[in-house]
Every structure is written in structure tokens, then in C-alpha cells.
């Protein structure tokens, strides 16, 4: 009964925090989806792109605050700079680490993007040092307490911002992919690249675009989380891997599945943490193994008939 009691008392808070962090996992995971669906490759440095986003935010905030600019302006400037830098990094990764290895040996791109990850982690350390960095939130640090009967929990304004912004970003990406002609062209490349090229679609450009999109998403995630998580060179490692698990569980070809899986896993993580904080990081991967054994294509994917 004790355990149940603990669970019930911790549940509202776990759900609230879980949704916030889950939305971040989902946001990063959408990046995996975008590149995987167009190129059958993905960037294992995605989590470290988040770190770069966070570090850039730290630098921008630091410089502008030093110059006496208001906090909001810092956010706006960061919002302008981070996507730009990350987009460039996306182009670079595609060109240097993915494209030369796409055909040579299917393993090539996995290892080379892991290589990118190793470089970024260490570059992050070289450029920004090893100490953890705090970035102020535009929305202040006063937690909002919710205390309505059973529902007792606290959230930071920044956490609400994280959830809203990442949901919005995902909605924007999905809208772009599903509704715009460019998005449809990317889907066409994914489905049948030769046929897409016969429509006048530049297949290579679509691949680069996919990498730009996924990198920008990770950068945005970094910008969002630094006010609540401290920035340091290894901050992206676990989120990157967890987002990967989310992408697999939700289905690498299913953005809505990814969103749901992200939120779900975020909540499960925090529920598990009620009992054992150290198991929090493992539960996602346990679930991944279990779910893959049960449904190899992810929770929401339907197996398709393969033609020979």
C-alpha cells in the first residue's frame, strides 16, 4: 500500500515533467524520422547537435546580457542564429560523413556519424570548457504550483514553454512535410527516388534539406532545454539515444507515432523515477528491447508486403 501511495502522490508531477521531457525526445526523434524516411540514414550525432544548440544559446545569452540587452532579445537572437548554424552543420555532416558512405558499406554512415558525435563532444569541451553552464530563462524561475485536489505538482514557466514550443515546432515540421510541395517531394524521394527525379525533383537537394531540417530541430531542442538543464559537453548523449529509442518505438516512418512514443516514454521515465531514480535512464531501453521483440516495426507501424 505504501508503494501505491507513493505512486499516487508522485504521479501528477511525474506526468507533468514527463510530458515536458518527452516532448523534447519527440522533437529530436522527428529529426531521425526526417532523414531516415528520405535517405534511410540518420545522424547519430543528433544529440550532440542539441548540445551545440544549447552551448550557442549560452554564448548568445552571455554576450547580449553582458552588453546589457534584455533577456527577450537574447532569445530572439538565439532563435535566429541557432537554426542558421545548425543548418550549416547539417549540410556539412551530410556531405562529409553520410554521402560518401551511403553506398560503400551500409555500416559506414553509422560509424561516421558516431565519429561526428565524438568530435562535437570534444570540440564542445575545447570551446566551452568542462564546467556546467546555467542559462537564465526568459520566463523567470518561479515555479507555478498546481494544487487542485489530487493534482499537486509544480512546473517552471520555461517547462511550459518547452512543451508548447516543441509541440509547435513539431506541428510546423509535420505541416511542412505533409502539406507543402517541398515536403511532398521529400516523401516522393523516400518512396521512389528514381521516379521522383523524373518529376524534376533534385533528389540530392531533398536529402540535404532533410539533414538541415533534422539538425535545426536538434538545435532548437538545445535552445529550449538549457534554462532547465545545465549545458555541458555531454548533455546531448542521453537525450540523443533516448530520442533514438523513441523513434524506433514510435516507428521510424511514423511522425505521429514518434510524438506519442516520446510523450509516453517521458512519462514512464518519471513514473519509474518515483521509485528508483537511477533506473530512470534505463527504462526507455528496456522498453525498446521488449517492444522490438514484440513488434519489430515499432508500436504503430503496420508491416507491409514486400515485393520481390
Amino acid at each position: 500500500m505504501d508503494a501505491l501511495d507513493t505512486l499516487l502522490r508522485g504521479l501528477p508531477q511525474a506526468i507533468a515533467s514527463g510530458l515536458v521531457y518527452g516532448s523534447i525526445y519527440a522533437l529530436i526523434a522527428q529529426g531521425y524520422y526526417v532523414t531516415f524516411s528520405t535517405t534511410q540514414t540518420l545522424n547519430f550525432a543528433q544529440g550532440d547537435f542539441l548540445m551545440i544548440g544549447g552551448m550557442l544559446a549560452f554564448t548568445v545569452f552571455g554576450l547580449l546580457l553582458l552588453a546589457g540587452m534584455p533577456l527577450v532579445l537574447s532569445l530572439v537572437v538565439a532563435l535566429a542564429i541557432i537554426p542558421l548554424v545548425l543548418a550549416l552543420m547539417g549540410v556539412l555532416v551530410e556531405r562529409v560523413a553520410v554521402r560518401p558512405l551511403r553506398r560503400a558499406f551500409s555500416l559506414g554512415w553509422i560509424l561516421s556519424t558516431v565519429g561526428v558525435a565524438v568530435i562535437l563532444r570534444n570540440a564542445g569541451e575545447v570551446i566551452w570548457g568542462i564546467e556546467q553552464k546555467a542559462v537564465p530563462s526568459v520566463f523567470g524561475d518561479n515555479a507555478i504550483r498546481v494544487d487542485v485536489g489530487f493534482f499537486q505538482f509544480g512546473v517552471l514557466p520555461q517547462e511550459i514553454f518547452i512543451l508548447t514550443a516543441s509541440l509547435l515546432a513539431m506541428a510546423a515540421v509535420l505541416f511542412f512535410l505533409k502539406q507543402s510541395l517541398l515536403g511532398k517531394a521529400m516523401a516522393a524521394v523516400a518512396l521512389n527516388a528514381p521516379a521522383a527525379s523524373l518529376m524534376g525533383i533534385d533528389v540530392r537537394a531533398m536529402v540535404v534539406l532533410a539533414y538541415i531540417l533534422s539538425s535545426v530541430l536538434a538545435g532548437l531542442a538545445g535552445l529550449l532545454v538549457v534554462p532547465v538543464l545545465h549545458a555541458y559537453s555531454l548533455m546531448g548523449v542521453l537525450p540523443g539515444l533516448k530520442a533514438f529509442a523513441v523513434a524506433i518505438i514510435g516507428g521510424l516512418g511514423n511522425p505521429f507515432g514518434i510524438l506519442i512514443a516520446g510523450l509516453l516514454l517521458g512519462v514512464i521515465e518519471f513514473v519509474v523515477a518515483i521509485f528508483n531514480a537511477s533506473l530512470r535512464d534505463a527504462v526507455t531501453f528496456f522498453l525498446l528491447i521488449v517492444i522490438l521483440a514484440w513488434r519489430p516495426l515499432g508500436l504503430f507501424e503496420k508491416p507491409s508486403m514486400e515485393k520481390v
Partner: protein, 246 residues
Amino acid sequence: MSTSTPPLLSVVDLSVRYGQVEALHGVSLEVFPGEIVALIGSNGAGKSTTLRAVSGVIPVDRGRVTFDGHEITNLKAHQIVRRGLAHIPEARQIFGDQSVFDNLLLGGFSLDRRTSRDLAEQEIRRFPVLYERRKQRAGTLSGGEQQMLAISRGLMSRPKMLLMDEPSMGLAPLLVRQVAETIVRLNQQGVTILLVEQLASMALAVADRAYVLQNGIVRLEGSSAAMAHNPEVVRLYLGGAASASA
């Protein structure tokens, strides 16, 4: 070829290999503006390979492809489309996950937004069945409807010339007839067509001239009427015994 008009498409000594295997061994052909030219031959003769090499889907090993006065050998497929040479691939290759209308919009990818949308509104009316199913996923269309969609989609780039690969494949006779009529109508509207077809009777009926491809080289060429009565052509299709009994 000493005519006043230069050919719209000219293929000279085209060779293609798949890995170590050479699939085309020096194919040459010409298509003049306003013509329908048929490329016929049995399975594996290299008909589709020829079209794919011309439109840039697969790389050319040797030879030259010239379109509309410019060399297009080994340009990327999307660049070739933009020059006005569209290719409707074998087995339709429509984007099954996307709606019928979106398939058309993708066909007009190289155009600007408004033109593409207007053109798609026109094209979707070319075949009434498509208009009825404009919002449906293209993968749910029947084979015949998919072929109609593929043709409309191919026309979305406003091509000067169409490469059509086996438009009759898997279609019932009535639909084949409809496709044939469409080809003729398109041609009358000014589109030059290079038609790859296994169904020789259809191809020879609609085409002005024809090339017969066998094992990666051109075996015969001439006017369609002459080809239709060439016993060699019949033999290639039904085997020795058939030509004797025919």
C-alpha cells in the same frame, strides 16, 4: 537523315552497363518533332534501359544523347525533365502514399506554384476517373487508373516530348485502346512521343516509325506500316511456329 528539320531527340551509339554486364551495345535512334516513334522488342531487349539512359535515371556508359539541340548525355534526371523531356516510367511508379492530386502537383515540381496548380486542375480533368478520385490515395487506384495518372503526371512538366514505357502493361484491352487514343491525341496536341511497347499491334498502329530492339541493339527500323507486315516482327513475338501458321 537529310531533312530540313533537325531531330528533336537523337541518340547515337548509346551503351549502358549494369555492373559488368553491358545491357545496350550502341543503340542509335532519332525522333523528329511531331512524330510518334515506337521502340518494340521482347522482354530484356533493352527498351526500358534505353529510355532510362536517355532520361538520366541510369548513367550512360558510352554514346551521346542530344535533345532539342543540346547535349543531355549524363545530365541528372531532374535537369533533363526541366528541359522538356518527360519520362513516364514502366509500371507507372506513381507515389502510392500520396493523393491523386498531389501526384500531379509533384509532376509539376519544376514549375512555379500557381502555374503548377492551374495545370494540375486541368490535367486532373483529362481523365474523368482521376477527377472523381482526386483526394484518394493513388495506391488505391486500379492499374488502368494508375496509368492515366502516370500520363497526366508526366504531362505536368509541360514536356515537348514524352518517353512512355509500356503504357499498356497489365491493362485490359479496352483500357489499352483508351491509352492508345490518348497517345494519338497528345501527339495531335503537339507532343512528340517515343513509345516503348511490348504490345506491337498497338505500338505499330499509333506510331509513324518504329525500331525493333533485340538484345541491346537495333535489329530493324522503318515505317510502322512496313513493320506491321514484316514476318520477322511477328516471329520475334510468337516464335517460329507462329509465323508459319500465321
